[in-house]
């Protein structure tokens, strides 16, 4: 332990602690901007500078390690002047567009300016005047709002291994951009949206599609159907001011009804369906010498990453569509038939934790119903905006239930939203299908939690099935490199693009950090335990759809509606186009 004095208070902290964290321990919140608790400190904004006795230079508290006997002052005139000057300098080159900005009220720069009471900018206002990038259906980049904190760079390279964004040029001309100023649509971006969570400002955001949904809701000729992803029920509450990890499944359903959706159904239903299809695919591959290990396919961020970086491994990926797209295909076939509605009148909306899902819904393959299977994908943030605009007060809402026929689901589906959840759900089913025995303990704890890579071995009547789980693409990359070298000793691998899984998706409420990811994940496991059914194959609605419509798992209709194929995109997609 090291003891030091901060603003007159003594504090003892472990060696290697930063001044920032030490100060936090005694209730002093030093302002920061480029600092992000999950990313390596780069200490470039200099907002967190403090004075250390005996040093002429100010030091960045976010990165400066404590030492024995150090005496720190966080609010001397010198430190305050430097801090305020740094903010003033940034603001002088920043569009003052808070009122029209997507990050209005969730922007760290805005909050900082408010906190430091910056009332005047004495420098000439200058903008970089760089074009907005709206080339993808998922993310929008507005480099004029970029303050060059490089948090997105660390996220994209170190956590997501996609390496799309990097600083270019130097000095005052520095910009963060893809290589050769390419549009995001041209490069090997997973569209995971994690850079949005990294970004303190409105420089990166999701594409906002709420207007299309408002229009559909107002259109009397449209039958507007909505599906709610597993991870949304533990996160949308945050958008509405509730504590992190509050489970709001019932309130979410009633809020959606109030917004005017004609039918509120559940992606969890198709998550169960995914387990049946994927579980059978796995058993089929094992029995028939198919390509192993098989890798899960429900994360479109991971799929796109795989198509760019591992085109040689695509046959390892399960052919199952993601639950969102299974739902989309069924809503305009099975559901339309059952309800006697012309599929062309159905407008299908999905509520997702995810930016990549916007892209997924736009893929040309995702039209198995003969129409665009999912018309609009909204992230939790966009949905929050709609609720707020509509004046829906979450705390006063009753708890409603999802509608039939695709509204019943299991605990197995609920945990899809957390890393390891798909694997656990699959194991619950695969075990019982393969062995014909009932599973004693349902919880596969070894695949839970936030370790980057998790492994387990399951005994299927003498056959040892080895599984691995990775979340965050840098972790996925480690396993995929092993696989490429033929050294991955697994049968089944779950890959989730986002750290923590979909609870940490790129469309989730801001802030989404490791601690929020963990809390939302825990909430999903809680939801799992409270549900009457906890294994996908026990879901009565699933039994019904196979009986009435699909026939059998991996059958012809399934093949047509629920399975897909992938495209070799390569790392430099613009090269081929």
């Amino acid at each position: 332990m090291v003891s030091l004095t901060i603003d007159g208070q003594r504090v003892a902290v472990p060696e290697g602690t930063t001044i920032l964290d030490a100060a936090k321990k005694i209730g002093i919140d030093i302002p920061t901007l480029c600092y992000h608790p999950d990313l390596e400190a780069r200490a470039v904004c200099r907002v967190c500078v403090v004075e250390i006795e005996g040093q002429k230079l100010l030091q960045p508290s976010c990165a400066y390690p404590v030492s024995e006997g150090m005496v720190v002052h966080t609010n001397t005139p010198k430190a305050r002047q430097a801090r305020r000057m740094a903010v003033e300098l940034m603001l002088a080159r920043h569009p003052q567009g808070c009122l029209e900005c997507i990050r209005n009220q969730s922007c760290e720069l805005q909050a900082l300016a408010e906190r430091l009471q910056i009332r005047e900018i004495r420098f000439e206002r200058k903008l970089r005047d760089l074009p907005k990038d709206e080339s993808t259906p998922a993310i929008v980049r507005d480099p004029d709002k970029c303050i060059l904190c490089r948090r997105c760079v660390a996220m994209c390279h170190d956590v997501q291994a996609a390496g799309v964004l990097y600083p270019t040029n130097r000095g005052v001309d520095t910009v963060v951009t893809p290589a050769y100023q390419r549009a995001v649509s041209d490069v090997s971006c997973a569209l995971c949206g994690q850079c949005i969570h990294a970004c303190p400002t409105g420089a990166i955001s999701e594409r906002d599609d709420t207007e299309a949904v408002w229009q559909a809701l107002a259109d009397p000729n449209k039958h507007v159907v909505v599906q709610t992803a597993p991870a949304i029920r533990v996160s949308i509450g945050e958008e509405m001011g509730l504590p992190v990890g509050t489970i709001v499944t019932g309130k979410l359903v009633s809020a959606l009804r109030r917004l005017g959706f004609d039918r509120v159904m559940d992606t969890d239903f198709t998550a169960d369906l995914t387990i049946i299809e994927e579980g059978n695919e796995l058993l089929h591959r094992i029995k028939n010498g198919g390509v192993l290990p098989m890798i899960t396919s429900c994360s479109p961020g991971w799929i796109k990453f795989g198509e760019h970086f591992y085109p040689d491994l695509l046959e390892h990926i399960s052919t199952c569509k993601s639950p969102q797209q299974m739902f989309g295909a069924l809503v305009k076939t099975y559901y339309a038939q059952k309800m006697g509605i012309d599929p062309k009148d159905i407008f299908s909306v999905s509520l997702m934790p995810c930016t990549a899902k916007k892209y997924e819904a736009d893929r040309p393959e995702m039209r198995s119903s003969g129409y665009k299977d999912v018309d609009v994908v909204l992230t939790s943030r966009e949905l929050g905006r709609m609720f707020r605009e509509a004046g829906i007060r979450f705390e006063d809402l009753p708890e409603d239930e999802h509608d039939d026929p695709m509204g019943i689901s299991t605990g197995a589906a609920a945990i899809f939203g957390a890393t390891g959840g798909v694997m656990e759900a699959a194991l619950r089913t695969v075990y019982e299908v393969a062995t014909g025995k009932e599973l004693g303990a349902l919880d596969f704890v070894s695949v839970r939690g936030l370790d980057g890579i998790k492994e387990a071995t399951v005994d299927l009547d003498g056959m040892q099935v080895r599984v691995a789980v990775a979340h965050g693409l840098a972790n996925a990359k480690k396993i995929l490199e092993l696989l490429r070298e033929g050294k991955a000793p697994y049968h089944f691998i779950e890959i989730m693009c986002c750290p923590g899984g979909c609870v940490g998706g790129g469309g989730q409420p801001i802030p989404t950090r490791m601690d929020t990811r963990a809390k939302r994940g825990e909430a999903l496991y809680l939801a799992d335990r409270s549900l009457p059914y906890r294994k996908s194959h026990e879901n009565p609605a699933i039994k019904e759809i196979y009986r009435d419509f699909l026939g059998e798992p991996l059958g012809e209709r399934s093949h047509h509606l629920l399975h897909t194929h992938y495209t070799k995109r390569g790392k430099y997609p613009w090269l081929s186009s």
Binding site: Y166, V187, L575
Partner: protein, 164 residues
């Protein structure tokens, strides 16, 4: 700026794809060799086109965004086509004090271009640079690898004639 002349020196015999590959052979898997690799490629290609940056990224196993980020950081690299000869005029204080601006003006007049531009025939690109470390003979310029010092405006035409 994409004159046929520029095009020629960009893809002339030396810029063949297999030559790039053979240059990169010795750098394979060496992330630290990014700058030497860019030097070698620029030598034959005259600048660093995107297609070459991709090859560098592949050979050294680094993201192409980083190749671009590095290439745009250093002033000796260019990601845009340039003239056959690069004229760099020192604009740092010791040269400035001894009349670098007159040299710039004369160069602009002689070449018919402004700083930052390339002549129509693709022969010259005119750039400003920070100190070249030849301040003993300030004001100084560098044409490709060669320094010229103790310059006055009237020496410029003669120097340029060597490259015309």
């Amino acid at each position: 700026m994409e004159t046929p002349e520029v095009e020629k020196c960009r893809t002339g015999s030396s810029g063949q794809p297999d030559e790039i590959d053979s240059i990169l052979e010795k750098y394979r898997g060496r992330k630290d060799a990014l700058i030497p690799a860019l030097y070698d490629i620029q030598k034959v290609m005259n600048y660093l086109p995107e297609s070459a940056a991709v090859k560098v990224a592949e050979a050294l196993e680094v993201p192409v965004s980083k190749v671009y980020g590095v290439a745009t950081f250093y002033t000796l690299f260019s990601v845009k086509p340039r003239g056959k000869h690069i004229i760099r005029v020192c604009e740092s204080a010791p040269c400035h004090v001894l009349g670098a601006m007159n040299v710039v003006k004369e160069l602009e007049r002689e070449l018919g271009i402004k700083v930052g531009e390339t002549t129509k025939d693709g022969r010259f690109t005119l750039e400003l640079t920070s100190c070249l470390g030849t301040c003993g003979v300030a004001p100084a310029i560098m044409i490709d690898d060669v320094v010229y010092g103790n310059l006055t405006a009237d020496k410029i035409p003669h120097i340029l004639s060597e490259y015309r």
